[in-house]
Symmetry: C2
Subunit: 343 residues, 2 copies
């Protein structure tokens, strides 16, 4: 047997692996406007652009059915994919759901899952048009693809932010991560004492953020109404810091973020403290918020400055100035992106 | 604990499950021309139609890496999805590949897989534009989505066959199934004696059909050149009989198939005999041929009758006459669709 070279994927990380895969990809169709490297790929259909995004969720890696009810899981897989379409400033249109099922799942379980899928399809107005159903030897496997459309002059990429643009984020950050901690603790307590009743009332907001994320299509529609086209946009799935890194890298810029501007919900703040977690770190690196991070030019600031759900958290600056976090104490430190590591 | 109703998915089957899921689906966008129920979903993009199809392949269910080299697997997942686009009479344009990897897979293994993906993308001229890469606790998980485009007047559905139309199938049938038997036998022999060398030379055609299927885009281009628009079309993934059932059901018709017209390769025929398998049954129910089954109106018969790779195997008839198989002996029996059962 020959000694073959073996490089662990864990050493490379998800983004390193994607870079490797992208390196040798060839594009054959001039209509492919954008391939790998944004929230969605883009295809020129003549009258308008078609965007497409896809995600895979595996039991034991992305979700734990001991605290994720199937309806919520169904809702969540749709919402997180619609969120990618929103991040292109596009409107979701069609969705396909592939599902692999081990034999511990009954028809009734599958129906619960699809109840959630249908509820999200209704909430975000997207048509369930297909999918593959198959047996699995390894629990529940879900893979979802969403398409959307957007007029040619309205699409937003990660790469078009300009120096001086204002960084905005919607909603609040960190709550989904804090909610996950609550659910994990409840699971441990339940394993220790199966007769116990879950005590989740005082954590309803953070748990809801984990179980039932919302794709911010409402913001996309509002921005269109206000005639604001973000200069760049991404959805917050891996944590704010990681997403700021993506915008900076692809726009060839640096950024400055103000810690005291990070929107953190009161319940998330208090629950983080209960777990001895720094709420700012939860907001910066927690992940799964599915809010939108975007940049606007300064002239659009007046149009959003009083919006209750859009928060200005910093600005884009020269690449040489790096990615800075201005702490509550006024110190300037380098922003760290921890991101979501599942490898 | 309450007694909850539990219906096994195995009792329902894949098509029963899909019917259940489809029942309550709502469509919100008038541009959705076709949802669940054909080889691909269809979306009206103004100038032309966009089609989308998706498939999931799981290790241990759809493939066995002990005899499926990773390059071939990468090629196959692209080819089988392109085949669905071909079955809509469309041209493939973009593809996304989601991949879940357990830690036994190295970067080098992933690169082999993508070598196959890229080779198929080149062969079928489709742009790899995205995908999700994630850790898996359960071996290799693959999910692929392909989009394509087709002029509005050229799309083919399963539902538009007419009484008297001629049933055609491309290439030959059953070889992929026979090839799978050869590979499974080799695996057993290898497990019994790990020093043995595989003896696959005399089975190269059937093994190749299993490991490296071809999507028949060549036929799609030829039909266009000959100005033939099939009245209905489907790709042969679950076995010819099962696909004839789909065309009949969706077109509201019956069909007659002639056993002596089934195209079976000589090597497949002989190898089937070696395994004591009926070659006709392999052709009718084997699956994974990825040939095209389509109907044409009788006036188009002249244009294809001398085509070496298009075989006329029967015709569509009134629903009341059922689905008939005319045996070599001249007997008329009811066609049985066994299909691919993985639940």
């Amino acid at each position: 047997m020959s000694e073959e070279k073996r490089t662990e994927i864990g050493d490379l990380g998800e983004f390193g692996l994607i870079d490797k895969i992208s390196e040798e990809v060839r594009i054959y169709h001039p209509e492919t406007v954008k391939g790998i490297g944004d929230d969605a790929a883009v295809f020129d259909m003549g009258d308008s652009l078609m965007v497409i995004s896809t995600d895979m969720l595996l039991e034991g890696v992305h979700f734990d059915l001991s605290y994720m009810p199937l309806q919520h899981l169904g809702y969540k897989i749709v919402a997180v994919n619609v969120s990618d379409i929103a991040a292109m400033n596009a409107t979701p249109k069609q969705i396909t759901v592939n599902i692999g099922l081990s034999n511990r799942f009954s028809l009734e379980a599958v129906e619960l899952l699809y109840e959630g899928v249908r509820a999200a399809c209704e909430a975000f107005k997207v048509d369930l048009v297909g999918g593959d159903t198959t047996a699995s030897q390894a629990g529940l496997v879900l893979s979802v693809t969403v398409t959307g459309t957007v007029p040619k002059d309205q699409i937003t990429y990660r790469s078009e932010a300009k120096k001086g643009d204002i960084l905005c984020v919607t909603g609040d950050l960190g709550a989904a991560y804090v909610g996950l901690q609550v659910l994990a603790r409840e699971k441990q307590e339940f394993l220790g004492n199966p007769d116990m009743q879950p005590k989740l009332d005082q954590y309803s907001y953070v748990v809801g953020r984990q179980l039932r994320p919302v794709a911010r299509m409402d913001i996309i529609h509002e921005l269109a109404d206000k005639q604001i086209k973000p200069t760049s946009m991404i959805d917050v799935s891996d944590g704010l810091a990681s997403e700021v890194f993506h915008l900076c890298k692809q726009s060839g810029l640096g950024a400055a973020i103000y810690e005291d501007k990070l929107p953190i919900d009161k319940e998330a703040y208090e629950t983080a403290a209960e777990f001895s977690l720094d709420p700012n770190m939860c907001a910066l690196n927690g992940g799964e918020d599915y809010e939108l991070l975007f940049t606007i030019s300064q002239e659009d600031f007046e149009k959003i400055k009083n919006h209750a759900d859009i928060h200005t958290i910093g600005y884009m600056q020269e690449k040489e100035k790096g990615k800075a976090l201005v702490t509550r104490g006024g110190n300037v430190v380098e922003l760290q992106a921890q991101g979501w590591k599942h490898f």
